[in-house]
């Protein structure tokens, strides 16, 4: 069995005003990757390449062991895809959509579909045009979850949802993720959603992957440290520190390679450490993007 559900190797794609450059990452089977980036960062382009709908100009993509885009039809037999801009047929009912999907996927689980109808509070007989945005997202999610795909590709599925709908969608996703063979690729601007369900996180900015690691590693590596520099002491620049702010005696530094050795090194030079703060994923993302921009402009 192929242990990598998704594999991007040096993938590039150029548009007139945007370039996806040398994208490489892999997603082991059974893992959940949160793909975080701002608007226009390249998330949707990566997902379209992953689905075989946009062809990369350079590099290789394999999804569930199938080369993309050549074997997209074969790969999509085991993929469930929901994106923010995906719509169902307005004139048809949800029941018609369910029958349509059931006629395509032999793996369609009617009992699970019924369960999802109840937990998402949807009515099968209702026409799609009568559904709210949140209900439409839940309906699309129901259609992909009930055919039990090996790989779930979710492109900003929680965008525009109210807090209740978001909680219901994330709750159902968390249930789905208990299946250890199910792989999820989840793109979002909302770091809070990603933090809740992902075990791997990749940051993309301006068409480039700027960091990719498991969630725990991010949360352990990134710290904000408040320092006091006594008179006569100087703060030596350190490679682990990616940014610093403040003037005079009080300085706050941000590190992406936190370790007890770092604090010990500061203490040894006479610097007083006032606080060591853990960072949220959102703060890590913002600090990472800023650091990347500075590195590019330097």
């Amino acid at each position: 069995m192929n242990r990598l559900a998704v594999q991007f190797e040096h993938v590039s794609k150029t548009y007139r005003l945007f370039k996806l450059e040398d994208i490489s990452f892999s997603l082991p089977t059974g893992s959940i990757m949160g793909f975080i980036g701002t608007n226009g960062a390249g998330k949707s382009t990566c997902i379209r390449i992953l689905m075989g709908l946009v062809h990369q100009e350079a590099g290789h993509v394999k999804v569930l062991g199938q080369p993309m885009p050549a074997q997209q039809a074969k790969a999509k037999e085991d993929i469930g895809f929901v994106s923010e801009d995906l719509r169902l047929y307005k004139a048809a009912t949800l029941e018609w959509h369910m029958n349509f999907i059931a006629s395509i996927y032999p793996s369609w689980d009617a009992t699970y579909a019924k369960h999802l109808l109840q937990s998402f509070d949807l009515k099968a007989k209702q026409q799609i045009k009568g559904l709210s945005h949140g209900q439409r997202v839940k309906a699309a999610l129901l259609l992909v979850l009930a055919h039990r795909p090996k790989l779930l590709v979710l492109d900003e599925p929680t965008t525009g949802l109210d807090p209740i709908a978001r909680s219901e969608v994330l709750g159902e996703l968390m249930q789905v993720l208990t299946d250890e063979e199910r792989t999820v690729f989840f793109s979002s601007q909302n770091t809070l959603d990603v933090e809740q369900i992902s075990d791997q996180i990749t940051f993309i900015n301006q068409g480039k992957i700027i960091d990719s690691s498991d969630k725990e590693s991010y949360l352990e590596r990134w710290r904000r440290i408040q320092l006091e520099i006594p008179d006569g002491t100087t703060l030596t620049p350190r490679p682990e520190v990616i940014s610093s702010s403040g003037t005079g005696r009080l300085i706050t530094i941000t590190t992406n390679q936190f370790s007890p050795a770092l604090t010990a090194a500061y203490t040894a030079t006479g610097v007083i450490i006032h606080a060591i703060e853990a960072m949220t994923l959102e703060e890590i993302f913002i600090a990472n993007v800023k650091h990347h921009k500075q590195a590019v402009s330097a």
């Binding site: 379209r48 689905m51 075989g52 074969k74 895809f81 719509r87 006629s103």
Partner: protein, 224 residues
């Protein structure tokens, strides 16, 4: 190619377009009733309405079954299914054409049946009417090809305009062709060489249009 996906794709399009087809069939029946009356003005209106129904239904299907798929963002849903761009293209060509052939065949055959059963209309008109019917089919195929390749409403409208000009030109040519003109008024059906040559050219055009559509679609690197 995953041919097993073609059936659900065709069934889906039939389900979504069924009211369009029934609407045009109804309008076509009205046209046939008018064309069968004794009043010459009403007969002319009926004939014009019948041709208009066949042209408009082709345009309508090209727009509602292809352009609307992208315009209303249902294309990502279809392309999330286990289909490639080639299968999607084949599915759309087959589905849209089969759907279009329902009013085209029923109304076209009914029109021909009227000619054959009415003593006042010469049977020699049959080849002429067949050429017009097939040309309308060619024009539909042209609009479909343009719709699939460009997915632009403006280009589809342009294709329909070109199609209508070609239909008028063909009618003008047939009226000026001595062989066709003589046979049209005759009591027997004559398939002369000019008529047969035009028919071959029309069916070749259909094959060419679908071939070009497949070629262009398979070269696309950005489908969504």
């Amino acid at each position: 190619m995953n041919y097993s996906m073609l059936k659900p794709l065709i069934q889906k399009d039939w389900y979504l377009q069924r009211f369009v087809v029934f609407g045009y069939l109804l309008a076509g029946v009205v046209a046939l009733v008018l064309a069968n009356l004794q009043n010459q003005t009403l007969i002319n209106i009926g004939n014009l309405l019948l041709i208009s129904v066949l042209i408009a239904s082709g345009f309508h299907l090209a727009v509602s079954n292809i352009f609307t798929e992208r315009n209303q963002h249902t294309l990502p849903f279809v392309m999330s299914l286990p289909v490639s761009v080639r299968e999607y293209t084949l599915g759309k060509i087959l589905a849209t054409t089969l759907i279009y052939l329902v009013p085209w065949t029923i109304l076209g055959m009914a029109g021909l049946a009227i000619i054959l059963t009415r003593d006042t209309i010469p049977d020699g008109l049959i080849p002429f009417i067949m050429l017009i019917l097939v040309q309308i089919l060619v024009n539909y195929c042209f609009a479909l090809a343009v719709a699939l390749i460009t997915e632009s409403l403006y280009w589809i409208i342009g294709a329909v305009l070109i199609g209508n000009v070609s239909l008028q030109s063909l009618m003008g040519f047939m009226m000026s062709s001595p062989n066709i003109k003589i046979n049209m008024t005759g009591s027997s059906i004559v398939w002369d060489s000019t008529t047969l040559l035009i028919l071959v050219a029309q069916f070749s055009a259909i094959a060419l249009l679908f071939g070009i559509t497949f070629l262009v679609q398979s070269k696309k690197t950005d489908f969504i």
